[in-house]
Assembly symmetry: C2
Homo-oligomer: 238 residues x 2
DNA sequence: CAACAACTTTGATTCAGATCAAAAATATGA
DNA sequence: TCATATTTTTGATCTGAATCAAAGTTGTTG
């Protein structure tokens, strides 16, 4: 009965098809194609007409905006199973860049939009995704506008840890950072030197350890949480 | 034929009903009620269960997030005809505060969600609103993360000017600021002293004039635009 | 219209993070 | 494995905006 459930797709269209029936899944299968991008490659340019929507199969991509003189700010981070593209929009107003090597599962926009029109629960799913992104954007505005460098770094590490735990609750405290210091700086509204200094300050305090360029281990999660500056209520405990 | 087109509603449910037929409008009329809030009053607290969605009839409201120690950051600004509340969400994760005196046209959430389920074009309209908010949030992230105090203030004034022109293309350069220096500071990720200094610097340079506490006149729109730091392409001219 | 409260401006000082400048560590690849 | 390129760390200095502190405005209310 579930014979065609996205059978050859590593992420099984998780972003769109949780409640799709076989017929809908077949439609998705028929409009999809995979594409690989190298690290640093631009997937979509600001203002470019949208020809596909896509879901991330593997790797990390980011959304970035740039000022006149070249200062840039990341405004979104896309991890596997996240979705790119918005129904009804003709173009994006930021650049989408492959942060690491990225594989996309792309759907042609025309038939995809037809599918959205035909199936209210897909439309509803996309609405949920948009609202999740909006909530994330608002947390990020608080971070960018009011947090100190230390709080920004602690929040960043905590977010990676939570994302990892969500994907695999049995995981240990070891994290692979998907970005260079420079990319992290663009994400947090800092410079790369400040990012480096704050990582090493947390290391010196025994909150984390660093090994190689991208391995972090969280030693003291409570201290890390405390360093984020966030309101503690709304959390799981206390 | 259009007898019930939101006849006694000052904003005619602009946020939701552009394409509603008479039957749908009657349903909206039957679930609506007006409510007034004084300036400074909290309309909804973070975490509180959502009982209404609403559209702003008059006044200005803001969405705010707060850190442990009280630092706050506005994450959204709602002007007349803007919409509060999201389909499918049980609560909001920020405070909604009346910045000025505010009148809301509220709809009970249960029948409203039923209406959304029944009418795809209303669902689609809400999706557009969410995507507009997302785009605005991302512009704001660029501002908060990378712009200087001067650029932030120029961007703020320019936004008010554009909103005013959108509402009434025949308007002159005079603007009424809907917020105090302190509220503007919370919007832009600054302190109120810095806001004051930057307003007065632009005044001294002849870019704007200030009169009373809340009247601004834009004298030199080009200089103002130039001071925003934004990429000039994508604009109307050049 | 006087007195008060709320808001805004201005000035002096401090400080977090940016900037500038090497040096050190880690990767990459011949 | 050695040479080279990239990324990260560390140090010194500078600066924009925060902070602290009055004084000056504007608006409100009895």
């Amino acid at each position: 009965m579930n014979a065609v459930r996205c059978n050859d797709c590593p992420i099984r269209h998780r972003a769109v098809c949780a409640r799709c029936d076989d017929d809908e899944l077949t439609r998705l299968e028929n409009m999809k194609s995979y594409k690989r991008y190298d690290a640093g490659e631009t997937i979509m340019w600001r203002g470019e007409p949208l020809e596909h929507v896509a879901s991330i199969v593997d790797g990390v991509a980011s959304l970035s905006k740039t000022l006149e003189d070249g200062r840039t700010q990341m405004v979104g981070l896309l991890l596997p199973s996240d979705f790119i593209g918005r129904p009804g929009r003709k173009e994006v107003e930021f650049d989408v860049v492959a942060t690491t090597e990225v594989t996309l599962c792309r759907f042609e926009i025309k038939p995809f939009e037809q599918l959205v029109m035909d199936t209210p629960h897909v439309a509803q799913r996309l609405m949920e995704l948009a609202l999740d992104e909006l909530d994330a954007a608002r947390d990020w505005m608080l971070l960018l506008g009011r947090k100190t460098a230390r709080e920004k770094i602690a929040t960043f590490i905590d977010m990676l840890a939570q994302r990892k735990i969500a994907g695999n609750p049995e995981s240990d405290g070891t994290l692979e950072m998907p970005m260079t210091r420079d990319q992290i700086a663009n994400y947090l509204g800092l410079t790369l030197e400040t990012v480096s200094r704050q990582f090493n300050a947390l290391k010196k305090e025994g909150v984390i350890t660093l090994s190689g360029r991208k391995q972090i281990e969280v030693i003291d999660l409570l201290a890390l949480r405390d360093a984020t500056g966030d309101d503690s209520d709304g959390g799981v405990l206390s």
